[in-house]
Amino acid sequence: MQWIASGFLFVRGTTAYHRLDPRVRLAISLSIFSISLVSQSIIFLSAMIAITVGIVVFAKIVRRFAKSMVFTAIISLIAFGLNYYFAPASPHQAVVFGIRLFAVISSTSLFFMTTTPDELEQVMKWLHLPPDFIMIFVIAIRFVPVLMLDALQIMDAQRARGLEFDKGNFIKRLRNMIPVIIPLIAVALNRSLDLAEAMDSRAYGATKRPTSLYKLSLAKRDYFTLAILVAGLGIGIYLTLFVSIF
């Protein structure tokens, strides 16, 4: 559970990548995401993963990223296996599907792991999304670590009542999760009600478009990164369309 959630957890960092404007980081992740979604080339898809990993090293989030990608790798292998054995696709298509899934999830994870909920909120405001939608989305993201902490505390509490999570067969282990899931849902619902009341009592919704304390502005490094991104995209399109090995 921690593995899955940690892929969407922000890690506060001070690297040059973290200092980029969140819109630029979104553009980078979206570019990798879009190319991975349309490309049929194993080499091209592998290159997308290599670029993502390169950025991860640059942003110094290798350990957390690797941990969260274990689950993604398993899912990608399952996707490859299902396509290979059950779908009428060729082996090449099955490999493409598996790598594509990994590339798409890893690029999304890269964005969420390097972007604070506040930055995310600003990007969504800049995109003129409805304020209520922004609030719901940002709160959901912000609550992931809180719920993870709740889940760990609940597991501790049930262990202290003699429950052994790692004993028994698969079905028994699944059943052992019931004493964790039910309190977790109850705690999450209570917290959301408390939060809704607290927000109401702080005049949430009093204005249609609340103002922001900070405004997004592009710096030199952002223009430089965008230039590299556009150049990279151009080279990618050229290689896809005109060079046969891709």
Partner: protein, 279 residues
């Protein structure tokens, strides 16, 4: 499940911490060189500021956390060589937030859960459920969902469901939060009864007014270390020591100092009144 052997019966030591350090995976140091021995039928209160390491300390006793350095032993057994489930048979923890523990369809089933995990026979389970419901005035709610109970009732249920399996050591993490004065009094009575049955009770609390009448051995913590350990009369009644771990001196001590009385200070208002009247 195999119960823990009480191999330390001869030495009378129930829990021992030997130069224990503990760091969280993110590198935060939570315990530094903690050494502590708790003997049979001792009542111990652990006090300190938020983040002092109180909850981390007690989580080592039933093996939920294992020391980074040093050794924690319960009834002589190194907690590294036992699972939480094995240790919990002897060490019951009531956690601060009752919502983290309750999940069953009814109060009765909630109490039953732990008893089943420990593999107790059916007739014993029935007896223990009845005892828990009666002792904690939960009989009327036996078939109700625990989630529907009030905060105070949930807290009572959490204490009841742990005491139901009769652990030798009971750890209560902030037991008085959300409890009215009547329930606090009842809890104090249960603690006295457990001590008289030669059990151990460890209280993690900020509520000095609750523990002062119980006169526990008081362990003050700050920044992951124990800064004072001794009888309540010596530790809690010393403003200079209490201040270091942001603990307030009990009102009866302040009252006594105003009246020029010296230690031992009266543990209850009744004792103070008697002293005031010169009885």
């Amino acid at each position: 499940m195999q119960a823990l052997k009480k191999v330390d019966d001869l030495t009378n030591v129930v829990v021992s911490f030997d130069a224990v350090d503990f760091s969280h995976p993110n590198g935060t140091v939570a315990l530094r060189d903690v050494s502590l021995k708790i003997e049979r039928s001792e009542l111990v209160a652990i006090l300190g500021t938020n983040g002092a390491g109180k909850s981390t300390l007690v989580r080592h006793i039933n093996g939920l956390l294992k020391p980074t350095h040093g050794k924690v032993a319960v009834f002589g057994q190194d907690t590294r060589s036992a699972t939480s489930a094995q240790l919990s048979r002897q060490v019951g923890i009531v956690f601060q937030n009752p919502n983290n523990q309750l999940f069953a369809q009814s109060v009765r089933k909630e109490i039953e859960f732990g008893l089943r995990n420990f593999g107790l026979p059916d007739n014993v389970i029935e007896d223990r459920i009845k005892w828990a419901l009666d002792t904690f005035s939960l009989g009327d709610y036996a078939e109700r969902s625990p989630i529907e109970l009030s905060g105070g009732e949930k807290k009572r249920l959490c204490i009841a469901l742990v005491l139901a399996w009769d652990p030798s050591v009971l750890i209560l993490d902030e037991p008085t939060v959300g409890q009215d004065s009547e329930q606090k009094e009842k809890l104090a009575d249960i603690i006295r009864e457990l001590i008289s049955e030669r059990k151990n009770v460890i209280l993690v609390t900020h509520d000095v007014e609750f523990i002062w009448p119980l006169q526990p051995r008081s362990v003050l913590m700050a920044n992951g270390s124990i800064i004072a350990d001794g009888p309540a009369q010596q530790v809690l009644a010393r403003p200079d020591i209490a201040e270091k771990s942001s603990v307030f001196v009990p009102q009866l001590v302040d009252f006594s100092i105003i009246h020029g009385w010296s230690s031992p200070f009266p543990p209850t208002p009744e004792a103070a009144e008697r002293k005031l009247r010169g009885v």
